[in-house]
Amino acid sequence: MSVAATLLSGLRDALARAGGGWRENRAGEPRCAACAYFRDDPAYVEATIPGLASMSSGHASVRSGDGICVRLDRYLSGDAHCGHFAAAAGTTGIGCPPL
């Protein structure tokens, strides 16, 4: 089996094992991006992470929809979810993210 085929096979296995979590999220779990504990504003992220604006930016594409969970103290994807979700005002937190 070639190296590429081995890598692809491993990737498929990993995705299969991870499958439950992310499919469930896409199907209707509340997303961090809509949670009241989640802060993804670029200015806030730049102010909270020293040095980010020196050689990168809170507005950069690579940051995607990431933000800081002030409850769990983690820097997370806006598409993640957990059991502490609290809907921010005016949101249900459910649904797929805009691209």
């Binding site: 990993a14 909270t48 020196s54 769990l72 820097y75």
Partner: protein, 470 residues
């Protein structure tokens, strides 16, 4: 009061629940896209003017070479209206972009005026015919002045509104695309990708394994590894989000990356000079072994300033920039989405659970893709199209002075804004404390990266980089 006051205060209170979207206006678009619109807008205007027999030359003012005060004052007296017009142009362009991104123009205008005046002084200094003798390369001077001002003198924090490192460097990279022939990207890109991939994978593995050996958490190890292997601070923040790192992990990695990046801005050109590396080889090495785009361009531009002025350095100044860009932008930056995607899968399936479930799908690759690279490629395509049918001699006689040359000069301004902004925003006392173990793990990777990068650039692929664009 800056626009960040409300959310920061809210976080400091630590009340937990808030409605962040009510606290500030939502930014419109991403910085990458705005850099594309600004850069491509300039290139398109240049292409139209070129087709009509006109040029951006007048507004793309740059200081002339000078050897005494009389020449300098005569040049400034003759051209000051062009500098004023150039300032207004940049101010208008960046104001539109930053206003869309949520920045207040009231803070940006005075900050950018300061930045423009300081950049002009640095540019003038770099045009002194003795500048190379005293190592007064504009990128290094800009960085040093910025670091001294921000760390010794100090500036009000609100002035940071004008020091947007990434917007300037991304705009500069899009403009750089106009000066890099598409054929060169196609010809040299695969080798750049091969070399960058080898070094990136090895560097990531070394940093990750060293970090684990030092007992660091897997997510911090991955954040550090990406910072060293892919694209510095941007990679660190991207991977931190993809793997769900602790809040303090990204600042630790960023501190480490910044400190090493600043060291490398000075060390790589010095080492290249000491080793007598050709322009192309040095550019490839810097592209392989510098960590952030902005820092790398500072190092590459500094070395390109030595080409033709320092004995023993062969090649052309543009070769350093071209080799660096191919290696860093084409070879390394484009893969950040894939790194984030793979590491997100690994974090979800193999690492210790954190109570948070991430969504892992291939869309991650596009969402994190550094979109400004598309602008870089589009700019190259536009110039290739606009100059189709011209022979090399005609291109050099017609397109270079009136089309590509002015864009190159505008690119130089964007990069000087960037280099000065790096220094002005890097306040060492405000950086997070990284600690011995993360720094040691990262430094292990740096040693391997630098040696492997030198081996590949100066030995394995040396002939490729030496003949770049010839």
């Amino acid at each position: 009061m800056s626009t960040i006051d409300s959310p920061v205060r809210d976080a400091q209170i630590g009340d937990g629940i808030a409605t962040p979207r009510q606290l500030q206006g939502a930014p419109r678009g991403r910085e990458d896209w705005w850099a594309i619109w600004l850069g491509l807008g300039i290139v398109l205007v240049g292409a139209v003017l070129f087709a009509e027999g006109a040029s951006l030359r007048w507004i793309a003012a740059v200081p002339a070479k000078w050897s005494n005060a009389g020449q300098l004052s005569a040049d400034l007296a003759a051209n000051w209206p062009r500098y004023v017009a150039l300032f207004v142009l940049w101010l208008a362009l960046f104001s539109v972009a930053l206003a869309a991104l949520g920045q207040r123009a009231a803070a940006f205008v005075p900050a950018f005026l300061l930045l423009f005046v300081a950049s002009t002084v640095i540019f003038i200094l770099g045009q002194w015919d003795q500048a190379a003798t005293y190592n007064l390369e504009p990128p290094l001077v800009a960085l040093l002045i910025g670091l001294v001002v921000s760390n010794v003198v100090g500036l009000p924090a609100w002035l940071d509104a004008g020091f947007r490192v990434e917007l300037y460097v991304k705009t500069g990279i899009v403009l750089l695309g106009a000066t890099l022939p598409l054929s060169l990207i196609i010809w040299a890109g695969p080798i750049a990708i091969l070399q960058a991939s080898i070094v990136s994978i090895v560097t990531f593995a070394v940093i990750f394994l060293a970090a684990r050996a030092f007992g660091l958490d897997q997510r911090l190890a991955a954040t550090l590894g990406a910072g060293g292997a892919v694209c510095g601070v941007s990679a660190a923040i991207a991977v931190a989000g993809a793997v769900g790192a602790r809040k303090e992990d990204a600042p630790i990695a960023i501190t480490t990356v910044i400190l090493w990046a600043i060291v490398m801005i000075f060390a790589l050109p010095l080492a290249s000079r000491a080793l007598g590396l050709s322009a192309g080889v040095a550019g490839a090495w810097i592209g392989t072994s510098e960590f952030a785009d902005a820092a790398g361009f500072a190092a590459a531009q500094a070395y390109s300033g030595l080409v033709g002025k320092v004995e023993g350095i062969t090649g052309t100044p543009e070769q350093t920039i071209q080799a660096f860009t191919l290696m860093k932008v084409v070879g390394r930056d484009v893969w950040i989405g894939i790194w984030a995607f793979i590491l997100a899968i690994v974090a979800t399936t193999r690492w210790e659970k954190t109570g948070v479930t991430g969504r892992v799908d291939a869309g991650e690759i596009w969402r994190r893709f550094p979109k400004f690279i598309l602008g870089f490629l589009a700019a190259s395509l536009i110039v290739s199209f606009a100059t189709r049918g011209l022979s090399l001699a005609e291109f050099n006689k017609l397109a270079v002075p009136s089309f590509v040359g002015p864009i190159k000069d505008l690119r130089s301004w964007a990069f000087i804004f960037c280099f000065l902004s790096i220094g002005l925003t890097t306040r060492l006392r405000e950086l997070a404390t990284a600690g011995f173990r993360p720094v040691a793990a990262f430094s292990t990777g740096v040693v391997v990266n630098v040696l492997l990068g030198l081996l590949l650039s100066a030995v394995v692929f040396a002939s490729h980089w030496e003949s770049l664009g010839q």
